[in-house]
Symmetry: C2
Subunit: 182 residues, 2 copies
DNA sequence: GAAAAATAGTTTAAGATTAAAAGAACTCGT
DNA sequence: ACGAGTTCTTTTAATCTTAAACTATTTTTC
């Protein structure tokens, strides 16, 4: 991280990623990496949101929620859902409410534990989601597809390393859903 | 609850990134790359949000806005601000409102064009932001710092390629905010 | 068993976010 | 000047988001 050569001046950008150069030689490499990562992720996400809205009149959170349910045919607890989606409990409550409203998913209070509630896709929801998932997959392929397969793989692997770095720094379990008591 | 655990074989993950394998052999590489990218970005972003809140009782959007203003000592138009932040106009209106309220930035209607309004950091805002920026920079370095400098650089460059791929697919100007003269 | 602690979800209050429409001010051709 | 079109910003309506407080239920402890 020390002696990084005299930064190759980049071709002036003006978006969120531009001009990291305030800090002297203060973590510059990390900052510009983070900004670019963020910019690219936002770019892709924005495009997918836009297409979900235009094509299916839905939103990314709804899509994500349904994607989780599609993987759990027998239903899933709200808490587990919120953990997998990495959002708050209250957030899930609202999303589920609206999706139930639209008849795409169903809620059912558990008998064994009356605090808990299971949610799952309805038949209709499954059908609708199938369409959306195919389109979503195509879109992602379209957006990332310029990148040669090897580069994709290399990028994926490096991002894996980065993920480890972050997990190490936040000392959260590298990936487990249940961080198992320490 | 461990009852329905998907049985992580190999190094399988259980967060948002897990199990892409629905589609036949359908764009699997692109999907898993996108999911990992999204996961990593969210991971970092969540940590930064959390620390901004705990340490400075502020939010990421506010921080981002101030970061933009810090680069424009003479002030910047709201529209330009929203373009740089890659968010909607209305969004900026609200953010600016709250930051003005807190005395961190100031708004001033342009004399030349009374539709337009300039915003800039106040003296107080500049002071406060300096602290936050230093901490932010340290945090990012801490989170990404495990990664060797060369890997950071490689990742940064590959993300640049990815950015180009996305721009090509959305045929939006690769980066320009200001359509360069000539 | 009853009190205490833990767990699952919901509610609340505030903020962030967008798209679409409205409002206000400017430019320019005629 | 006039008005049409453009540009800059705010408003509106809806959704998404979170943290913190709260309710209801189960589990643990003594």
């Amino acid at each position: 991280m020390s002696s990084t050569r005299p930064v190759p001046r980049e071709h002036e950008h003006i978006d969120a990623e531009s001009k990291v150069g305030e800090s002297p030689q203060h973590h510059r490499a990390e900052l510009r990496l983070w900004l670019r990562l963020l910019t690219v992720a936002n770019l892709i996400e924005a495009e997918i949101r836009k297409r979900l809205r235009e094509t299916f009149d839905t939103t990314l959170p709804r899509f994500d929620l349904m994607a989780q349910l599609e993987r759990a045919p027998d239903g899933i607890l709200l808490g587990e859902l919120s953990r997998r989606m990495m959002v708050s409990n209250g957030n899930v409550t609202g999303l589920v409410e609206r999706l139930v409203q639209e008849g795409l998913i169903e809620r059912q209070v558990s008998e064994r534990d009356r605090r808990a509630a299971l949610v799952r896709l309805t038949e209709h929801g499954r059908t609708v989601f199938a369409d959306m998932a195919r389109a979503h997959s195509d879109w992602v392929a379209e957006l990332l597809g310029q990148l040669p397969a090897e580069e994709q793989k290399a990028l994926w692997q490096r991002l894996g390393d980065l993920k480890l770095s972050v997990h190490a720094a936040t000392r959260s379990a590298p990936d487990e859903t249940k961080p198992e008591k320490t």
